[in-house]
């Protein structure tokens, strides 16, 4: 395990590369899903306000 973590002496380069990659991918997922939820909510709210069902329009 210690040998694996040491990455043959390249630990300080390999691990940051993997950590940054995973963090950026996760951030892209979270930001995209939150944005969609927010946009969906605002459409729903506006449709309710104007008394439309939202069934027939896009």
């Amino acid at each position: 395990m210690a040998a694996f973590l040491a990455m043959g002496g390249y630990a300080v380069f390999v691990w940051p590369a993997y950590i940054i990659s995973v963090l950026v991918l996760l951030a892209a997922i979270v930001v995209s899903l939150q944005g969609r939820a927010r946009a969906r909510r605002s459409v729903r709210r506006l449709e309710e306000d104007s008394g439309e069902t939202g069934e027939n329009q896009t």
């Binding site: 390249y10 380069f13 590369a17 459409v43």
Partner: protein, 240 residues
């Protein structure tokens, strides 16, 4: 297919049906790819364990360029055929392309330090043309945000993306045209890949995982853009 999906309502129905499957596939591929890359690949005879960075660097760099191609292609379709979803597709792809390009630069820099002795080299054409790609993405996103009218914004952004497309062949061929730091192509080259099978298959798994993840997020962001446009038109109808 393209005509069928031109209707935003049908696009929403279709994309909502397929998105969960694409999401599941992306997670499976990425889980397998990360496991394979980290635990089941040998050290390289020259690079030692630093070669592990390749499995997160190459897919990110490939995505940055592929997404640009998709974005420029969608922009062209939007300009020429006025396909209603083309502008939405181009706009939704840009932030993802920028994220992957930034990842390619960061992970490449972390590999360059031990292997080339430097995090960054202004004299290397591959590095600089990749940085320019990031700036083009950021400029494209800024342009969309700067113009209020979506029709005008789409047109201006599409033209920017087509002009910026000139950078893509420069990135690809930079390693041959200017033989500086970055080594020549070892995967997409005439005569097939030159890297060993024990690296090639986990690398392909990662590239496929990144691609499928992008497709999922692209659909999510296109849905978002359609909702935002719908909200905008409802707001304007109310204001009128």
């Amino acid at each position: 297919m393209i005509t069928f999906l031109a209707n935003p309502k049908r696009f929403l129905d279709f994309s909502s049906a397929v998105a969960p499957w694409i999401c599941g596939l992306a997670f499976l591929l990425l889980a397998a790819g990360f496991y394979w890359a980290l635990f089941d690949t040998p050290p390289d005879y020259q690079q030692g364990e630093s070669v592990k960075i390749m499995f997160v660097h190459v897919p990110a760099a490939y995505m940055g360029i592929m997404i640009y191609g998709l974005m420029a292609g969608a922009s062209l379709v939007g300009l020429v055929f006025r396909h209603p979803l083309a502008d939405v597709a181009a706009k939704s792809a840009a932030p993802l392309g920028a994220a992957f390009t930034a990842l390619a630069l960061l992970t490449g820099s972390l590999w360059g330090r031990p292997m080339w002795g430097t995090y960054w080299q202004w004299g290397d054409a591959r590095l600089v043309s990749e940085l320019i790609l990031l700036f083009i993405y950021l400029g494209y996103i800024a342009l969309w945000n700067a113009i209020d009218d979506p029709v005008r914004a789409a047109k201006a952004a599409a033209i920017l993306s087509l002009v910026g497309a000139a950078d893509v062949p420069v990135i690809h061929f930079s390693v041959d045209w200017w033989n500086t730091l970055h080594q020549p192509a070892s995967i997409i080259r005439p005569g097939g890949p030159t890297i060993d099978k024990s690296f090639l298959w986990p690398l392909f798994t990662m590239m496929l995982g990144y691609t499928v993840l992008f497709v999922w997020l692209w659909l999510v962001r296109m849905q978002t853009e359609i909702f935002e446009r719908r909200a905008r038109s409802l707001m304007m109808a109310r204001g009128a």
